[in-house]
Symmetry: D2
Subunit: 282 residues, 4 copies
Amino acid sequence: MAHCIISEAEAVLDKEFPVLDKGFIRLVDYMGGDARVVQAARVSYGEGTKSRREDAGLIDYLLRNRHTSPFEQVVLTFHVKLPVFVARQWIRHRTARVNELSGRYSVMKDDFYAPDLGDIAAQSVDNKQGRGAAFEADAAAGVQSSLKNAQEGMYAAYTELINKGVARELARINLPLSLYTEWYWQIDLHNLFHFLELRLDAHAQKEIRLYAQTLFDITKSVAPCCCAAFERHVLGGVRFSREELAEIQSRLGNGGGVASGAGLAGKELERFEEKLRAGRQK
Amino acid sequence: MAHCIISEAEAVLDKEFPVLDKGFIRLVDYMGGDARVVQAARVSYGEGTKSRREDAGLIDYLLRNRHTSPFEQVVLTFHVKLPVFVARQWIRHRTARVNELSGRYSVMKDDFYAPDLGDIAAQSVDNKQGRGAAFEADAAAGVQSSLKNAQEGMYAAYTELINKGVARELARINLPLSLYTEWYWQIDLHNLFHFLELRLDAHAQKEIRLYAQTLFDITKSVAPCCCAAFERHVLGGVRFSREELAEIQSRLGNGGGVASGAGLAGKELERFEEKLRAGRQK
Amino acid sequence: MAHCIISEAEAVLDKEFPVLDKGFIRLVDYMGGDARVVQAARVSYGEGTKSRREDAGLIDYLLRNRHTSPFEQVVLTFHVKLPVFVARQWIRHRTARVNELSGRYSVMKDDFYAPDLGDIAAQSVDNKQGRGAAFEADAAAGVQSSLKNAQEGMYAAYTELINKGVARELARINLPLSLYTEWYWQIDLHNLFHFLELRLDAHAQKEIRLYAQTLFDITKSVAPCCCAAFERHVLGGVRFSREELAEIQSRLGNGGGVASGAGLAGKELERFEEKLRAGRQK
Amino acid sequence: MAHCIISEAEAVLDKEFPVLDKGFIRLVDYMGGDARVVQAARVSYGEGTKSRREDAGLIDYLLRNRHTSPFEQVVLTFHVKLPVFVARQWIRHRTARVNELSGRYSVMKDDFYAPDLGDIAAQSVDNKQGRGAAFEADAAAGVQSSLKNAQEGMYAAYTELINKGVARELARINLPLSLYTEWYWQIDLHNLFHFLELRLDAHAQKEIRLYAQTLFDITKSVAPCCCAAFERHVLGGVRFSREELAEIQSRLGNGGGVASGAGLAGKELERFEEKLRAGRQK
């Protein structure tokens, strides 16, 4: 078997999926899919197991037992337009290959991100890195227009420096983190899943979460069985610590009621209850 | 703060810890420890959080929330003597740096691994990749001596080729996978934990599991709090799928008895019961 | 532009190219080609440079100036059958993704590598890791048949252990490094070039050099311009040290004769003369 | 031998070396040095070669023959304060481990980079990504003060949003690329050399070049012989293509004069002449 040509993937290929106010993700190319994962796994197992399992079952087995290498055999290339502050979080994932637009070569365009009114929110009280309650409509509008005004001013100052002949690599140093950039980003499915696990998480900044969601939606077209197993075991799954497992065992043995002796208390007990109720810690 | 000099680590530095019949692990050097993890994390959080948490609490928080980068700031260098078939499994972990003895440069020594009598076992019936019941003493002795005889024969043939003047890189091609090799292996703590998670698992071949156990024991001297958090959340923890979590929720709501509607059955139910009883799938 | 479908690559896709006595390389899939490299580079340069350079010129520019990231956008997947001692050298390149046949899951086949008579040679006198003069025909035949006999004996012993019911993971530990294994190996073009630079070198063991040559021949079908630039600047190029450059400058200034003052002498001078004559140090 | 404690390195440990107007580099820790490289290489070569070569000679041999793995055994951890636009170039090197100050957790400080008057220059005419002639003093002062004014304005706007209670992760999106950030950056010597080769190059932006120079100066304290070999073969060396080598051969054969038949012409000839005169293409 050579190329995996997947009709669902072909249907989304080269389409721009909008993200945020001016960003997008476009699937440029892909190599492999569910069938390649199975094929690669069967190299490891030799011929003996060939007819034993259904493909979806094998994929589920591989994913839940962390046999990660077959998932590396699927590769996706995306073209992404995204604000610089999102790009800075994104690039921390070092297992992808990137070609980014360079502000040293090119004059940057007048493209900046400003959050929707509904996304302008206060500093979270209990989460040092997150957003809390949304602002009232008026206050949000004030914040939004002050952001937009500042972006206009910055771009005007940039243009002035460019017009004066200042080197592009210097003129751009005061452009803001809300500036849009673009890149080609290529990653294998195993490492994409790791990216998605972290960036679909409720603790990730909302802006990068929206990109992660679009990446995931596109990826479902390329490798639907792999994505289903990932949802079942990782996104929808939950990891309990040794003490939390003991608590579950104790409660079940105890007729389902609240356990006494397993030793979770205070903050730890709260975290446990929330995981038990809601799956992954939100 | 500069070098982390850790007295427990100094005490094991440069000592050979025996593994298998002729192998060993020796801690050559280390950089950082628990304190470095805390220090690196606090770069991310700025000065504001400096006095908020106890160090152990911060380390536990980092590990259970997969803030993996501070653990990468601790690095360990090991000198390992190990059979080639173990080295072949080990090297699949690509995030370490290796310098291995070369059979092209050097004449290999007469060092081969033969399993202890108690480790000679039948093919597992239910686990395609594992060992099942141990052999009877007599049968085991037969297997062991046939392995040892073959090793002697192979080494004699190798020596003969070397003595005839055959190039070392050719003479060695019939040396068996039970041959001992040596390497320097350097890895950061985050990636070492990943290695240990996979290689301490009951599905890993026993020989590499023994190396993993010794690596872990040595590492406890270098970064005890990190290792405790790793034991609590990873080694002693357990991951449930979306369906398994629903089963737990259903049982607990149901008074702790066996649930009806959550939908686990057959093999899936068995796997769940075993995880619930024993922690990580064994 | 979506998939790069390259007719020369399609023509070799899925064909087994034999290497050594029983090995092969087969191109399983590829993503991208010369056009993708250009496309990825132009993301970096923005629209302004679009029509400026011919593609081949741009590729040559990228390669000679070490703009490596566009070459990472091309990915190739190979299915390879190779002896274990070659696999052990090969796997040292950590930037590829591998799925290998497992001797824990499968009974290994009776496939071993024995060198051709013409490849059986003495230890090199001046190169501690290499082969020197070929053996006389008779002596070579003796070595070859002794290797083959030993392989038969080892496989018989392996079969006996398997028949006794010994676990596959144990039975295989005395199989020799000349045993053939198989893997899927996927790598991007930049890292493949690095592999080829090292493994096409005259200092690499002949057996892996033959695999590298076949990899390169297949890759020329996928990305011919990239391969031509790689040949021009890397394979056919040569790197001189500061002192060697001074020697060249001195000789040219000196009318082309042998220089006096530039300071190369002894071994260093010999190495320089050889590089000057033959390109890369052979 | 355990820890390499190197007195020259101890002397610079923990000192802040200033870079740009408000940045710095500080060596936080190091593991290994020249001796570790030698020690690791000798694992590969076995005991046989132990006394053969002087250490410096072995290191030079390793470096010029691209035996890169022993250099990976030396690791350095730096604390760096640097503008975001420099950080964005720096982070493209994926083989290091980073912990960066987070603008989601912490309120950013009023620290921005403004170029010195002498560094304010026009767009280069012949180099699309670089700086050309310096501005006249008056014009430079105008640019500098306009950059500084804009930075003050941006920081005031940021402070206003923070004071209004806007979430830190949103308030910071208009901060400019000239903002200073901080990180822990840990890398092995082989990959550091690769970083330095690219970032000490005349084509790198001046600001990151100054950081690279300081990194290199500090590294010389940790591994002086390795750094000397790197200077000799890489920084001071030059790579010629197949055609350029032919040109050299032709000129030398030709009595040192300008060759006729070797085929370099136009731009290619210019590039060659410049490399020949000045070493690495500047």
